[in-house]
Symmetry: C2
Subunit: 169 residues, 2 copies
DNA sequence: CATCTGAGTTCTAAAATAGAACCCTGCATC
DNA sequence: GATGCAGGGTTCTATTTTAGAACTCAGATG
């Protein structure tokens, strides 16, 4: 991604065969990322999620079902002693692995959309209290900052726009 | 975000006063992230975007207008010698700064959703050819990996659920 | 003057969200 | 054993969006 100086024409790549497209099918529906945020934050029960998010309950039902289907979340029944059985929704490992995505999105909002008071939330390393930062670097250890040039090349799983599609038009 | 052991109750925070919520208002609509991906990849003209993405043209119109409104994209008219005037959509600096978000989303898809052939696209540092990685680390230089515990605490711009809201219920 | 291309706009139909009301199951209580 | 209530949804209608295709319009081209 990013300025591909004559390396190849990105329009030849099948737009749907793309890790961004695939990931957005899981987390790209309205509310989904906020549901995940709340799950990360330990809000786990249906009613709590509905109340805190202000999402319509039927939509929340669909989102949670989608997340469970996708394997990002699991629904667990539990019972506290003397209490009735309850359900909670927990991140699976695959859901947990979205943490860098959430943090990257949050970092963007902190940098570009915070009010004059500053960012709404501070996320820190529990061990040392240092603020968590999202950094890009390359496999050779070089830092990749905002004006570093990157190059995208088709990987082994790339899909190309088929001849038939191109000519059919 | 992430496991807040009795530090505070995340339900007391206003769900909408959140950098994730704010950012998703800009980039959370269907297709938006794919439009941005194509813009990063140098696909800039309306027809090219419509053809490559397979998005309905009226939706593309709305998404581009939204991105321009949000200041992530600008619409530029230009004319190649001997050609008619054309428009192109270019990322602004604020749009460009979404690169880590796109890369984090892509990295997730590469890790969890790639087929047996491997990831569709490889993004490398133009200077050295090393693959670009999204890393978390804390301000004190510690690496933050998947099982590092993080703590979220209200920042200066936090919004709390108002008494009136809580009691009105 | 007829055609083509770029860049949309304008329709209609299908799908999704918003909001509110309703339902059902287990406990707890009177 | 009827009542109440909380948790966890479902069902309903109204409103927005998206999907898909057709149509417009201006400037270059022949």
């Amino acid at each position: 991604m990013c300025v591909m100086p004559a390396v190849m024409d990105p329009r030849e790549l099948d737009s749907a065969v793309c890790s961004i497209a695939r990931t957005m099918e899981l987390i790209g529906h309205p509310w989904t990322l906020l549901v995940l945020r709340d799950l990360f934050n330990g809000v786990r029960r249906f009613d709590e999620l509905a109340d805190h998010l202000g999402i319509a309950r039927n939509v929340l039902t669909r989102r949670l079902a989608g997340l469970v289907d996708a394997g990002l979340v699991e629904k667990v029944s539990y019972r506290e002693p003397g209490q009735r059985a309850r359900h909670e929704y927990r991140l699976t490992r695959a859901g947990w692995d979205l943490r860098p995505v959430l943090l990257a999105v949050m970092a963007y909002g902190d940098d570009h959309l915070a009010g004059p008071d500053g960012p709404p939330l501070r996320v820190e390393h529990a061990d040392c209290g240092g603020q968590v930062l999202v950094r890009l670097e390359c496999a050779n250890g070089h830092p990749v900052d905002s004006d570093s040039r990157l190059r995208a090349i088709p990987g082994p799983g790339a899909g190309f726009v088929r001849e038939s599609d191109a000519s059919a038009h």
